[in-house]
């Protein structure tokens, strides 16, 4: 240990972390943090990694085959029928968009609330946001039937001099999802610049040095840059906060603006946002537990982080549970016979199995997180996070399929089940998501190096805390 690092430890300000659990275990030095994260990037690609990558890439490949088949033949190869015009395509779209929400919540909202514990998990959660939104875009583009005409969704000057219909929520969705993707990507990349510069100066391989050198854009850690950087980061966090709340609200309007009983309710925007954060945290938890184990990041992603995430899942899980019961209540209280019928049908009709799977996974299972012991038990939280992932998928499926399959005209009632093509595309999106995540975990710093350094005890001056900084 060098003299300075020793000094840093000695001078560690007791006010830095008042009686709180340490966010980074083992009091590493600045160099330790760099070395630990860089070692993941510098380590040799193992056979296990390649094998996992091959599995996920094959899943992605198989999904692309099914996607190609759909595009070539048409969406008639799916199980959609006359009353049920939206099936797994839109279910998966909403599912993936929802997964993305945890990333922005962690990077933006927790940043504004100065929740320092976000620093260990924000990078990977933001990456998941971007990959999940890509999967969502894949789903929604394939759902259009003729994805090569995607540009018809954009207002562009054309020979008919006609424009898109801005009164349609589907159009709002185009803008919301694209904005979300662009802003998340910029936020993520700007957060990465200092860390890429760290790797540029640290790694030995010439190719890696060049690539990180180009991507880090020549960042030197100059305080004259940090000074703009912090304000820019703050502004991006500030505008991403309403953005993350808006995206799923707009997605929910795809349903609420329609007049289908079961869709046409005002509770949808907040209900969808809570559900999105809930499912997003579950997915982050599932992957983070694996990453933490495989890359040995227990020092940075501590039980305290996992405990906090479990608390958020418990809270959002109960919001979702409240929304389920409120939907039921309003269906009865509104006195609207169609509304009432749809909800009785949802719980006891043909899709009752989907409804009760959803309730069990989303409302019942997270209740175990009331106990601290369980909030800190890795196997339990891993299983619960997978339950929540399943439950949240079923939530979207329930909302879409049950509302549609029995419409206003009993003669046209039907039942929807997916074909192998839809299932393959869904598996494929998981393949895309996991492949991108594996590549990310290997080649990009999975932990925000500069942010973790900034919260180490003794890393900030004792008398200089009048200026607010990077949490």
């Amino acid at each position: 240990m060098t003299e300075v690092q020793e000094q840093q430890k000695l001078h560690a300000d007791p006010h830095d972390e008042p009686v709180r659990e340490a966010l980074v275990l083992g009091s590493p030095t600045l160099r330790d943090v760099t070395a630990r994260i860089a070692s993941i990037v510098e380590s040799k690609i193992t056979a296990k990694y390649l094998l996992t990558l091959m599995v996920t890439a094959s899943m992605a490949g198989w999904g692309l085959v099914a996607l190609g088949y759909t595009i070539f033949v048409g969406i008639g190869v799916w199980g959609l029928n006359n009353p049920v015009g939206w099936g797994w395509d839109i279910t998966n779209f909403v599912f993936w968009i929802g997964i993305g929400h945890a990333g922005t919540l962690i990077s933006a909202i927790l940043y504004l609330f100065r929740q320092k514990w976000r620093t260990a998990i924000n990078r990977s959660a933001e990456a998941m946001t971007i990959f999940a939104v890509l999967c969502a875009m894949t789903m929604v583009l394939s759902h259009t039937g003729r994805p090569w005409l995607f540009y018809w969704l954009l207002p562009y000057p054309n020979q008919m001099q006609m424009w898109v219909n801005f009164r349609s929520p589907l159009m709002w969705d185009v803008f919301a999802v694209n904005t979300y993707f662009t802003v998340s990507l910029m936020f993520w990349f700007i957060g990465l610049i200092p860390d890429l510069a760290t790797l540029r100066n640290y790694v030995k391989s010439k190719i890696a040095k060049t690539v990180y050198g180009i991507l880090s854009l020549g960042w030197t850690g100059s305080n004259r840059s940090w000074h703009h950087y912090e304000i820019a980061y703050m502004i991006l966090a500030g505008i991403s906060t309403p953005l993350v709340l808006s995206v799923h609200s707009v997605v929910s309007m795809d349903f609420t603006v329609g007049i289908m009983p079961g869709w046409h309710t005002t509770i949808f925007p907040p209900y969808f946002v809570a559900g999105a954060i809930f499912s997003g945290f579950a997915m982050v938890m599932t992957l983070l537990l694996i990453v933490r184990e495989v890359l040995d990041l227990k020092q940075f992603i501590t039980l305290k982080h996992l405990d906090n995430m479990n608390r958020i899942m418990l809270a959002t899980g109960m919001m979702v549970g409240y929304a389920y019961s409120m939907e039921m209540f309003i269906a009865w209280y509104s006195g609207n016979p169609w509304e009432k019928w749809v909800f009785i049908n949802r719980a006891f009709g043909d899709y009752a199995w989907a409804y009760w799977t959803m309730v069990t996974c989303n409302v019942v299972s997270p209740q175990v997180f009331w106990f601290k012991k369980i909030r800190r038990s890795i196997p339990v939280m891993f299983v619960i996070s997978i339950f929540i992932n399943i439950g949240m998928w079923f939530e979207r499926f329930t909302i879409i399929a049950t509302s549609l399959h029995h419409d206003f005209l009993p003669a046209s009632w039907g039942y929807y089940s997916p074909t192998w093509v839809e299932i393959s595309i869904f598996v494929g999106t998981f393949g895309i998501f996991l492949t991108l995540f594996l590549l990310f975990a290997k080649f990009v710093p999975v932990i925000a190096i500069s942010e973790v350094k900034g919260i180490l005890p003794g890393s900030q001056p004792k008398h200089g805390s009048h200026t607010e900084g990077h949490a």
Binding site: N223, K453, P461
Partner: protein
Amino acid sequence: MASSNLAGAIAEFTDVNALVHAAEKLRDAGFRKWDVHTPYPVHGLDKAMGIKRSIISYFSFVGMVGGLTTALGLQWWTGADSYKLNIGGKGFFDWQFSMPIDFELTVLGTAIFTALGLFHLCKLPTWYNKYQEDESFKKATDDTFVVTIDANDDRFSAEGTQSLLVSLGGSNVHVVESALK
């Protein structure tokens, strides 16, 4: 002024409190072309260096206004002026239905202008730096605080600046030849 190819003087600091103190002294000594390179943002260093408030929020504001104007203009012009289409008897343009896209484009405009503003103000990308070959300088992204004072600062003198940096607690103080030919 020293030899023409001199980039400036470099000092390493490892204690963050000493660094802030040194920055205050350099600011008070009247240096202008100098900088501190740190692996993470250090609270209060802006003030110690005498850096004025960042103007990046003006960029964001322009982006915000631009985004909102674009959204309103686009929806009004395409719907209520260029090609009126009656869809379900809804208005050709109403602020109510324009809200989602107004909001999204406002956010998008703000984000893009903030990012571009950041790149502009930090001079990114600049894939070279006159100190880039210096070993001390490279440590600034790892575990060391590095103070650089450029040779073209009016108060710079190879001897005097180095001894000043030493007196402020800097270690491994040295002058650097510019890496740029």
